[in-house]
């Protein structure tokens, strides 16, 4: 078995992994990135549409262009090694972690590293998770899989499609399918409002006359060998109005019904996962319950904008560097999600530094307010013009905002939305 020693192993060579690797290496540490595909870039490679990098680069880039910025960086860094077509299958945690990467080219390689960065991204919620009744024909795809097939492999999954879910992936695919000559009959959305950006409603649906059925769901799939159609049912007051169902004839169904952080590997070696996010519980330095194992990007929590993934991953890298230097602060104070907040990341804060928080609202509201309390006392307020669950909110607390806390005191931060 080949053995390597490196300072940090980054599992996943997508937007999160590349940003973290580059930043860690810039401080002189050696980094090995394990990437299971044949090229780095992760999911960005198949996101050929634009809208990426508006925050970070002030440019309107496509996914591959955004990825290439980081791939170029990493290629110039001698102390970053990217192992392609290599899958991390096993991790033995310890004072020095052992990561086993499997590759057809190099066999199984054991990589010993003091720090691990989890950057595996997410997977898509599928038909099994949401339990659409009916037959089990071919022609049912998750939107991301269809995107991969069309954009990377050049394969068209069908001729007439119905899309379930009005998140951005579903909307983008409505346009993409139309632009490869498929007929997109409808986008079906169970909520009473679309979950994707309005600009995408315009340029992906309205431009093509594709109807959006809000407050509707797909209640059955038909077809013996291949999809022959779906039954669409309106929701009234949260219940399906079966009598008002109608059928749409189609041969393809694309599901855009949510993303789940892909923490199979993490779970296997003992990382504690937060059921609210699907990702790891992390402290103020984005370190998980396993010492020296950090997480960033979609594997930690599902992001809306890749720009924030890069930012979060670079911050994570700065904590990894502290850890590798032996300067990682041991005590972190608790953070909780309060009223109307689904989750807050990270789950810990450090009073002596700038803390950046990401959260998601449980409610939809205009003119809302974010309230942060410390031990029950209001600490900070922030006005939010509009909140909804599909749009991540972020805020920072500087060392100046936070009191000095001496051991063994504990002061809990709670974040609420009203």
């Amino acid at each position: 078995m080949r053995e390597k020693h490196t300072d940090a192993v980054v599992i996943g060579g997508g937007s999160a992994g590349l940003a973290a690797a580059s930043r860690i290496a810039a401080e002189g540490f050696s980094v090995t990135v394990l990437e299971r595909e044949s090229q780095p870039g992760g999911i960005l490679n198949q996101c050929i549409h634009n809208g990426f990098g508006l925050q970070r680069f002030k440019e309107d880039l496509s996914g591959p262009e955004y990825a290439e910025r980081f791939i170029d960086l990493v290629e110039k860094q001698d102390n970053v090694e990217v192992l392609l077509e290599t899958t991390a299958l096993e991790v033995s945690p310890g004072p020095v972690h052992a990561v086993y990467g499997y590759s057809r080219h190099t066999g199984v390689t054991r990589i010993d590293a003091r720090a691990i960065v989890l950057a595996m991204g997410c997977r898509e919620r599928n038909r099994g998770n949401i339990g659409i009744p009916g037959t089990r024909p071919s022609g049912v795809f998750t939107a991301g899989l269809a995107q991969r097939l069309i954009n990377i492999d050049g394969f068209i999954p069908g001729r007439r499609a119905v899309i379930l879910g009005s998140g951005d992936i579903g909307l983008i695919m409505a346009r993409r399918c139309t632009w490869v000559g498929m007929e997109v009959l409808a986008v079906i959305e169970i909520q009473s409002y679309p979950s994707g950006l309005t600009r995408n409603i315009v340029q992906c649906l309205n431009d093509f006359g594709i109807p959006l059925y809000l407050s509707h769901t797909v209640s059955a799939i038909h077809g013996r060998d291949r999809v022959s159609g779906v039954t669409v049912t309106p929701m009234e007051e949260g219940k399906s109005a079966a009598a008002k169902s109608f059928d749409l004839e189609c041969d393809t169904i694309l599901l855009s019904v949510g993303l789940i952080p892909d923490n199979e590997l993490s779970r296997k070696f003992g990382v504690h996962l937060n059921p609210e996010t699907g990702g790891a519980f992390v402290d103020a330095g984005l370190m998980s319950s396993v010492p020296g194992v950090f997480a960033c990007g979609n594997v930690l929590h599902v992001h809306d904008l890749v720009d924030y993934v890069s930012e979060e991953s670079e911050r994570c890298a700065s904590y990894v560097i502290e850890y590798l230097r032996g300067e990682y602060p041991a005590r972190h104070q608790p953070v909780s999600a309060g009223a109307n907040v689904k989750y807050v990341i990270p789950n810990r804060y450090l009073p002596e530094m700038t803390n950046r928080f990401y959260l998601r609202s449980l409610i939809v509201k205009n003119k809302a307010e974010l309230i942060v309390t410390l031990d029950g006392e209001p600490l900070k307020r922030k006005k939010l013009a509009h909140v909804q669950p599909s749009e991540m909110v972020s805020f920072s607390l500087d060392a100046a905002d936070l009191p000095r806390i001496s051991e063994p005191e504990e002061k809990r931060l709670e974040v609420s939305i009203v």
Binding site: H49, L54, L61, E65, D153, G154, L197, T198
Partner: protein, 147 residues
């Protein structure tokens, strides 16, 4: 005449109201920046969109495209049996260098699906110049190394 639009220039999506008498007398309100103003005008007069798509990259021998040839090699116990499918992408992502008049989009797509490119290519290389005389080009959005 009046129309309500949502600006697509950035993710904010300002809600705009456009009023106009004729082609020269157009008023836009609701925009938070100049991009909204120009977007609204264009949308009334000559709607345009950035087009993103993919163009075929010439297949390399031994890749998964040539399934039958490789299967023959595999049947002879050759190394093709253990090889990965062709590692370089078989589709090159592309975009228009600027928004293109909507009426030209179907023809552009049909044309680019008939094209083939091959490495090496740099991100930003022009594949089609001056589409339909609009001054808009088709450019690559990723680099492909020489094989």
């Amino acid at each position: 005449m009046e129309r309500k639009l949502v600006c697509i220039s950035c993710p904010l999506g300002c809600r705009l109201t456009v009023t106009w008498q004729n082609e020269t007398d157009i008023t836009v309100s609701g925009n938070k920046c100049a991009k909204g103003e120009s977007y609204a005008r264009e949308e009334i007069l000559a709607p345009k969109r950035v087009v993103t798509a993919t163009v075929a990259v010439t297949a390399e021998a031994g890749g998964a495209e040539t399934g039958r040839a490789a299967a023959g090699a595999a049947a002879n116990g050759g190394p093709a049996a253990g090889q990965a499918a062709s590692p370089e992408p078989r589709r090159l992502p592309v975009k228009t260098s600027a928004p293109l008049l909507k009426e030209h989009i179907p023809a552009l797509l049909n044309e680019l699906y008939r094209m083939e490119t091959k490495p090496p290519l740099r991100c930003g290389d022009v594949l089609l110049k001056d589409i339909a005389g609009t001054g808009v080009d088709l450019v690559a959005t990723r680099s492909l190394k020489a094989k």
